[in-house]
Symmetry: C2
Amino acid sequence: MRTTVHDVADAAGVSVSTVSRALTGGSVSPATRATVMAAAERLGYRPNRTARGLITGRTGNYGLIVPDLQNPFFADIAKGVSARARAVDGGVFITDTDEDVSAELEALATLGRNTDGVLLCSPRATDAELKEAADPETTVLVHRQVPGMLSISADIAAGTRQAIDHLRALGHRRIAFLAGPDESWAGAQRLATLAEYDKKPEYDEKPESNDKTDKTGVEILRFGSVAPTFEGGVLAGDLVLASTATAVLAYNDLVAMGLLHRLAARGVPVPERMSVVGYDDISLAAMSHPPLTTVAVPKGRAGAAALELLLRRVGGAGKPATTVREREVTLPTGLVVRASSGLAPTTSG
Amino acid sequence: MRTTVHDVADAAGVSVSTVSRALTGGSVSPATRATVMAAAERLGYRPNRTARGLITGRTGNYGLIVPDLQNPFFADIAKGVSARARAVDGGVFITDTDEDVSAELEALATLGRNTDGVLLCSPRATDAELKEAADPETTVLVHRQVPGMLSISADIAAGTRQAIDHLRALGHRRIAFLAGPDESWAGAQRLATLAEYDKKPEYDEKPESNDKTDKTGVEILRFGSVAPTFEGGVLAGDLVLASTATAVLAYNDLVAMGLLHRLAARGVPVPERMSVVGYDDISLAAMSHPPLTTVAVPKGRAGAAALELLLRRVGGAGKPATTVREREVTLPTGLVVRASSGLAPTTSG
DNA sequence: AAATTCCCTGCATACGTTTGCAAGGGAGTC
DNA sequence: GACTCCCTTGCAAACGTATGCAGGGAATTT
C-alpha cells in the first residue's frame, strides 16, 4: 500500500492536518515542519493528486489533444507543453485522436472533466463544433483561432507573404501552391493571404494595411487539395511539373518533402529547375535533400504559451487575460532559407 | 460547476447509488437504467475519475515516460500507447524528460503515485537505478530489458543478424557499424550480436543456439560512439568513407539519414559505392533519398503491448502474467529492404 | 499579575464516487 | 394463500487530502 498522509502523521507524531499544512505551506512551527518533512522524505511520501484535487477543485493536470503524434509538427507542440508542465510540476494527459474529429470532441469532454483545462490542436473541426464542445474558460486552441475562444496561433499571413516575396525576389513569376485539406483552418489562412496577390494593386492601399510589399506581377497557381502527407507531395510532383510553375509553396514540410522526392525521381534538379518552399520548419526540413527552405512556425513555443495562458486563467497566478490581444495570442513566423529555393530558371534554359 | 452524480440522481429521481450502479454496470432494473442513462446524457455527465479512483484504488490513468517526443521512434510508441488507452477508456500522462535521467526517475516517482502503472522508455538509466526507482509490479519497461522487471522489447539480435546477413549476401565483406551512446541498452544488444561475427566458427555450434547462419568471412568495423541523431550520421559519413568498408549498419535511422546526407554531399552514390542500412524503420525511412533499407522494430505495437501487459496485471482483466516469458515479452523484428542497399562494388570498380 | 492577543495544533467536515449492508417489494413455489 | 427467494433500491461509510473552527499555550501588554 502506498504511504499516505496518515503514515507520515504517525511517523512524525502529529495529526494529519499538521502534515498537510507542513507540506502545503500552512502555518506550522519551524520545528514541527522539519520533523514532518523528514518523516515524509524518509517514507518517500508523494501527495496523491487525485485526493488533493477532489478537495481543492484543481488537479494540477492538463489535457492535450492532437490529431497525430506521429506528425512531427504535433510532436513538437507536445514536447513544448510537456516541458512547461514539468516546470510547474503539472501532469499532462495527451490524447492522439488519429485525425478523427468525433474522437477529438469525445476526448475534449472527458479531459475537460478530469483536468484543470485542455489544450486543443484541432485543425479540422468546425468553429461551431468547437464552441459547443469546449468550455471557453478552460480550453485553449493551439494553431487555430475561433472568435471568443482562447487561442495561440502563428502569423500565417506574414509567413506566407515572406515565402512568396522570397520567390518573387528570386525571379519567379508563376508559383504553384499545394493546398491542403479543405477543412483546415491554417489552410484557409494561407489561401486568404495568397488571394491578395490576385487582387488589383489599389486594394493594397487601404489604410489599415501595414503591408507595403508589392504584390503585382506574380501569379499563384493552385493545386489540390492534396493530403498533407509525404504521399500527397509525391502525387503533387507530377501535377506541378505539368504546369508552367517554376516554384512551389507546399502546404507543409511533409508535402514539400514528398514533392522533392518525386522531383528527384523524375530527374528535375532542385532548385535549378524548380524551387520548393515548405511550411512549418519541422526538424526533418533541415535533413531533406536538398535542405528545405520553409516558413518557420513556432511549435514548442506555441505549446508552452498555450499552457501558460491556461495557467494564468485557472492557476490563480497573475490576473487572467481579459483583452482580446491577451486571449488570442499570435506568435511570429519567419522564413528560413535553405537550399531548396534559388533563382528562377531563365526562359532560354 | 460541473454536473455530478448527484445532479443526475435528482434529474432521474433516484439515489446516487443507483446512478452509480446504472453507469458502472451494477444490478439495476432496465427501466431505471434507461432513465438514468437518459438523464446523464442530457446533463452531459462524465464521471470524475479523480473521485472514482479514490475509492476503487484504480484511476484508469497510466503514465508514459519518454526521453524525447520529437524523436519519431518515441512518438510512434506514444501513439501506440495512446490508441490502446483510448480503446479501454483510459487516460495517459506523457512526460518528456528531455534525455535527462534524473528527470526520468523523478517522473517515475510522481507518476507511480498518481497512476495505475507506468510505461517507461529509458534507454540510458542503469539497471540498478531502475530497480530502485520503479515498482516492479506496476512498471513496464519498453524496448529495454532488466531481469525481474516487466518489459516489452524487440528481438534486436535477430534484426541485427538479418541486416548483416543481407549485406553479406550482397557481397559485402567489410561492414561498418556506427555505434550509438555507450549507455544505451539497445546499443549494447547490437554490439553483443555483432561480436558473434568475430568469433571462431566453432562458437556457433553450441547446442542452445538455434542460429544456423554462416557468420564467417565478414568483418565488422566499429565506429563511434556517435550521437544517435542526424548530425551524428553526418559526422560519421567522413569516418566511414576513410575506411575500407563498403556497407554501413547505422545505430538507427536518424543516423543513417545523416550518413546518407553526407554521402550525397561528397558525391558518393548509394548504393552503388556504399550500402546503408538503418535501424528502427521510423516513418522517415521510406522518405529518405534513396529510401532506406532498415531493420523494422515494432514501436506502436510495443507501446500497445506494454499497456496491455499492465492492464492484465492491474486491470483485473485476465490473470496477471507470471512466467518469465509472459513478463518479459520479446516482439519480432524484420529487415525491410529498400533502395539504400545493393550489391557490393566489384574490387576493380 | 492578570488579561489579551497570537500562534500553533487537532478535530471534524467536505469533495464525488463506489460499495457493503439492509430493507422493501414482486414473483414464484408449495 | 403464505412463505421464500431474489431483484432492486437507498443509506451510510470510506478513499486521501485540505481547511474552517475552536482550544490551548506562550508571549506580550496594561
